[in-house]
Amino acid sequence: MSIEPPYTLYHPRWYRRRVSVWWWLQKRSYTGFVLRELTSVFVAFFAMVYLWQLHALTQGPEAYGQFLARLRTPLFLALDTIAFLFVLFHAITWFNLTPKAMVVRLRGKRVPDWVIVGLNYAAWLALSGVVAFMLLRGR
């Protein structure tokens, strides 16, 4: 049983703002987030280089030598450096965010975030140490 007013009610139009294509430049944390997502491109790049390396290994010492020479060109070195920085960014942001996803409970109490982050970094350092030892020992 609605009341009909003697004139037409104005139908309110709800205003919907458009989200700009440059939304990710509006805040530092948004820009950081987009850069973090972009690191996946460079992770993929490293994966490609690794596959290329494996392929070169199967082709014999000469092909492998060519591969190593390619890696030493200035263009590749530059690319590698940029990719390495991005992957480092990827690793650090990943470790720092791990405790959000992984909640460990010991004897009913939640393990503090810094422990989880610390353990991740420790494991990373340890593994890197082992790899570096194995690589450098051979020289």
Partner: protein, 247 residues
């Protein structure tokens, strides 16, 4: 002359305008005023036609969410002194349709809230006369943080995914679903998973993390969503490996 500060407020009167405009008011500055006090001063003394929502003025009802200088905040808990010398810009929350001035439409959220089934689901209910379901303080602790959500919508306003994909269920709704999933009295995990593992559920979230940053009650919705992703992924793997053994 007592100090004053400029308050710039978004106005939108759909009967006269097709787009929001801005209006600036000069208001007295008081050390213990919050932005809400300033808005009320405008409404009482300068311009009675300014519309905004508020109620408890102590940060627990969730009505007064607005953007202050670009960041979503509860205006009843945001002090003018943090923004001096001003000007202070007050706008309606992002990513919700603006109904009028600083009032936005929340029906999208209300619908999504219902979708995630935020109630205790059990195969068999005990009668109240049989006493309480036992729950240790540690068990309460596992979901307590996620139960603190006041539905203020600041997280939706901070989430760029919600802005780009309005069908995303959103941080508060998923955090609430996780609150019930982790409640030892609840048995509805599987039912909620069906809804939340769809395209607009948890997998739309790319862990920007802004929702947790703006949450005034430290609910950590981003954490809730990532935890949910982890458990739902492991549950899926388990169901693949042990199709008969899953609960």
């Amino acid at each position: 002359m007592p100090p004053t500060v400029a308050l710039t407020v978004t106005r939108y009167r759909p009967e006269r305008e097709s787009e929001p405009t801005r209006q600036t008011y000069e208001i007295p500055y008081r050390k213990d005023w919050v932005v809400l006090d300033a808005l009320n001063h405008v409404k009482d003394n300068l311009d009675g036609s300014l519309s905004f929502r508020w109620s408890c003025r102590m940060g627990v009802c969730g009505s007064c969410g607005m953007k202050v200088n670009g960041t979503p905040k509860l205006t009843c808990a945001t002090f003018l002194s943090d923004y001096m010398p001003g000007p202070i810009r007050v706008e309606p929350l992002d990513y919700f349709p603006v109904v009028r001035d600083l009032v936005v439409d929340l029906t999208d959220f209300m619908r999504k809230l219902k979708q995630v089934k935020p109630w205790i689901i059990r195969k068999e209910e005990k009668a109240p006369a049989e006493g309480e379901y036992l729950q240790t303080p540690d068990q309460l602790d596992t979901y307590k943080q996620f139960s603190m959500c006041i539905n203020c919508m600041l997280c939706y306003s901070a989430c760029p995914i919600y802005g780009l994909e309005p069908s995303f269920i959103g941080p508060a709704a998923i955090a609430l679903a996780q609150r019930y999933n982790m409640d030892s009295r609840d048995e509805g995990k599987a039912e909620r998973l069906k809804i939340l593992s769809e395209h607009d559920g948890i997998w739309q979230c790319t862990f920007v993390g802004e929702c947790t940053k703006v949450c005034p009650k430290h609910v950590d919705p981003a954490g809730a969503i990532q935890q949910y992703k982890l458990t739902s992924a492991t549950d899926w793997v388990k169901s693949l490996l042990l199709p008969w053994g899953t609960r």
